[in-house]
Structure formats: C-alpha cells, structure tokens
C-alpha cells in the first residue's frame, strides 16, 4: 500500500522541518474546515512553518496515516513528533501550550541553523 519511497520522503519532510503541517489545501486556501482551523491556530503563533497539501499529493495522503498511526488530517508535527490533529491543536492553542511549543521549536531551529 504505502511504498517505501513515499515513507522515506515523508520522514525527510518531518525530520527536515521543525514545524510542518499536513493539511487539505494551502494556508491561504484551506479545503477543509478542520485544516482551516488548525492553520489559523498555527499562524496565530507567529512563526514560519512548512506545509504539505495532501490533496495535491495523493501518495502522501495515502501513506501518512500509517507513518504515525493517525488516521485523519490535518496532522501537525513539531521536532519530528506528531502533536495531533485539529481538536488537539485547537485545545493547545486555547491553553497557550501551542504557542510555547511552536516558539521553542522555531528558536531551536534558528539556533541550529546559525551554528
């Protein structure tokens, strides 16, 4: 089902980007309400992040659920680890936990790029 090359490129994306969101559509034009809400929370944290539109990458859409055993989209990864989907990201945004996590990850990424 999920071919090894796709899994490898997903691994590369997740490990190569401190903050990466797999979503339906783009941050400017989300194609799903759950993706829209998640990207809003993320943008409100004020840091740059990478994203992959799974609607334009059907092979990633098919393989990603088995990467971290998470069946639905969107999926947010920070520092190589799954944070969660829309409900988790929204709740963490409301408690302020998301901003803390995102800012720390962005700072670590900037420091490691500088050294």
């Amino acid at each position: 089902m999920s071919n090894p090359d796709v899994m490898e490129s997903i691994r590369g994306q997740i490990e190569g980007n401190a903050i990466i969101l797999y979503m339906k559509g783009s941050p400017q034009a989300p194609q799903c309400g759950f993706s829209a809400q998640t990207v809003q929370c993320l943008m409100a944290c004020g840091e740059k992040f990478a994203y992959v539109d799974v609607l334009s990458h059907p092979e990633i859409r098919a393989a990603l659920p088995s990467y971290a055993s998470w069946p639905t989209f969107p999926q947010l990864y920070v520092d190589g680890e799954l944070v969660g989907g829309c409900d988790i990201v929204t709740e963490m945004y409301q408690t302020g936990e998301l901003a803390t996590l995102i800012k720390a990850a962005a700072e670590r990424a900037a420091n490691s790029a500088a050294t």
């Binding site: 339906k24 194609q31 309400g33 609607l55 069946p71 944070v83 409900d87 988790i88 709740e91």
Partner: protein
C-alpha cells in the same frame, strides 16, 4: 445497524463513559443527505485520567479503526475525565464549518 449506533456501542464498551455524545455532522458537509461520514464524539470517562490528549485521541481512533478505515471520513474527538467535564460545565467545542474539499478531490 447505523454507523452512529456502532460508534456508540464501541465507545460505550471501551470507555464505560459517564457521558457520551455521538453526533452525526455529515449534514454540515458536501455529502449526500443521510450520509454517515462526519462525526463528532464527546466521551467523558475516567479511563482518560493521567493521559495526554494525544494518547486519549489514539485510544478513540483505535477503538473506531474499522469505521475510520471504512465510511467515516472525519471524526472530531473531545475527551474529558469526569472532573474536567464538570469544569467545562458540560459543553464541548463546536466543529469547524465545511470548507468545501470533497473526499475524492
């Protein structure tokens, strides 16, 4: 049996919830009338005590793995312990509106 009843049954037997809501939100999305594709579940159970959100959602996703691999396309999950639910005054957040992206696109 409807998908909603199956979901209700599985969550009940897995979590013995003190409060459970299984809401079919398919009508808010671009699917034919009567569809069972988009659901929201609110599960209040002390089985979640000591677990972070990611772990809680994994338990729910695992319990409904068959449904998620089949016709269920979206599942909004809200999990609370009895104490957290009381602190929330018994209200879970609303699901976001549809933004139009269909399943086959």
């Amino acid at each position: 049996m409807s998908t909603a009843s199956i979901i209700e049954q599985k969550l009940t037997s897995r979590f013995s919830p003190s409060h459970l809501e299984v809401i079919n939100e398919s009508g808010n999305h671009r699917v034919p009338p009567g569809s069972e594709t988009h659901f929201k579940v609110v599960v209040v159970s002390d089985a979640f005590a000591g677990q972070r959100l990611l772990g809680r959602h994994r338990l729910v996703n695992d319990t409904l793995a068959t449904e998620l691999a089949g016709g269920v396309h979206a599942l909004a999950i809200h999990t609370y312990t009895a104490a957290e639910w009381e602190a929330k005054h018994g209200a879970a957040p609303q699901s976001p509106n549809c933004a139009g992206g269909g399943r086959g696109e």
